[in-house]
């Protein structure tokens, strides 16, 4: 049985595969025609459906829909996407790609079970120009052993030393929290995004 994780990408055939509440903005059909792909969202979905997000050509264009599992034609985990080849990179000189090329060997050598999401993941997979000079590098950390705040800070400083802002989401089951939030606000309240909704936790590693 296939396991779908939040931030994985799923491919389907066309816009008629999608189910949604309310109305569908015009740009969705165009986006799906260009790349019939959605990112698995965190959220509840009807039985047999996956909650997915469709990305439009600009940052404010995001649309939440449901996709029947039976309509999935291909599935890429965020870990697979982190290892995706370079051929789809549109502007190969952008700092985000240079940063990724320096970070990836370290993660692999040390066997970090990390994935890639966000705009970089979308461009790597679709070849549609999505990242720019200001794009963040969004990592998704699975099976990450608990880090003390100084160790977390050290790791985050290193990840951020290549230019682009690096965002690491630590996964605990289908819930996740930001490593940066943990560094700054451990002991106070770290935002945990769970399937049931967001909440604050003093000890997000052990929820």
């Amino acid at each position: 049985m296939v396991t779908y994780n939040v931030h994985d990408l799923v491919f389907f055939s066309d816009v008629t595969d999608l189910t949604y509440a309310g109305s569908c903005p015009d740009w969705v059909a165009t986006a799906v025609m260009r790349a019939p792909v959605g990112v698995i969202r965190r959220g509840q979905a009807p039985a047999g459906m996956l909650p997915i997000g469709i990305r439009g050509s600009n940052k404010s264009q995001r649309f939440g829909a449901y996709l029947p599992v039976t309509a999935v034609t291909d599935h890429l985990t965020s870990q697979e996407i982190r290892h995706f080849g370079r051929s789809n990179r549109q502007d190969k000189m952008l700092p985000i790609w240079q940063a990724l090329d320096q970070i990836n060997p370290y993660l692999d050598t040390h066997q970090y079970d990390w994935g890639l999401s966000g705009s970089a993941a979308y461009e790597l997979v679709t070849g549609i120009p999505t990242v720019n000079q200001n794009s963040d590098l969004d990592f998704i950390a699975f099976n990450q052993e608990q880090l003390t705040p100084p160790k977390a800070q050290h790791l985050l400083d290193w990840l951020n030393s290549f230019g682009p802002h690096a965002d690491v989401q630590i996964m605990r089951g289908q819930a996740g929290f930001s490593l940066e939030d943990y560094c700054y606000h451990h002991g106070q309240g770290v935002l945990v995004k769970s399937l049931q909704g967001p909440y604050l936790s003093a000890d997000p590693w052990n929820e």
Partner: protein
């Protein structure tokens, strides 16, 4: 990228600056500063355009409960209203802790 501004007539003076939240997808930073003005002003920078009305509703609901008089700067990275509300409440709690 869109810049939104709001003003609210609030009464509860804030005496310290606080910072909650982070720069991360689906999250936001909330910075609260004491003010000498008689109104609460908010400057919101958001990557998600076209949500002014949603922001207005979330803020109105929050300030109805906690009429904080302060200058707010918010940097939003596509947070849902639930996350916005949680971060605002966290800022309010942080202000209480420091009194």
């Amino acid at each position: 990228m869109e810049k939104l501004t709001f003003e609210f007539k609030n009464s509860q003076k804030v005496t310290k600056a606080v910072h909650v939240g982070v720069v991360a997808s689906g999250d936001l930073e909330v910075l609260v500063y004491p003010t000498d003005k008689q109104v609460t002003s908010l400057e919101i920078t958001t990557g998600s355009d076209g949500f002014k009305e949603v922001w207005g509703n979330v803020l109105q609901r929050f300030f109805d409960r906690y009429p904080l008089l302060a200058d707010f700067k918010i940097n939003d990275f596509g947070a849902t209203p639930g996350v916005v509300n949680l971060r605002l409440t966290q800022a309010m709690e942080a202000l209480k802790d420091e009194e």
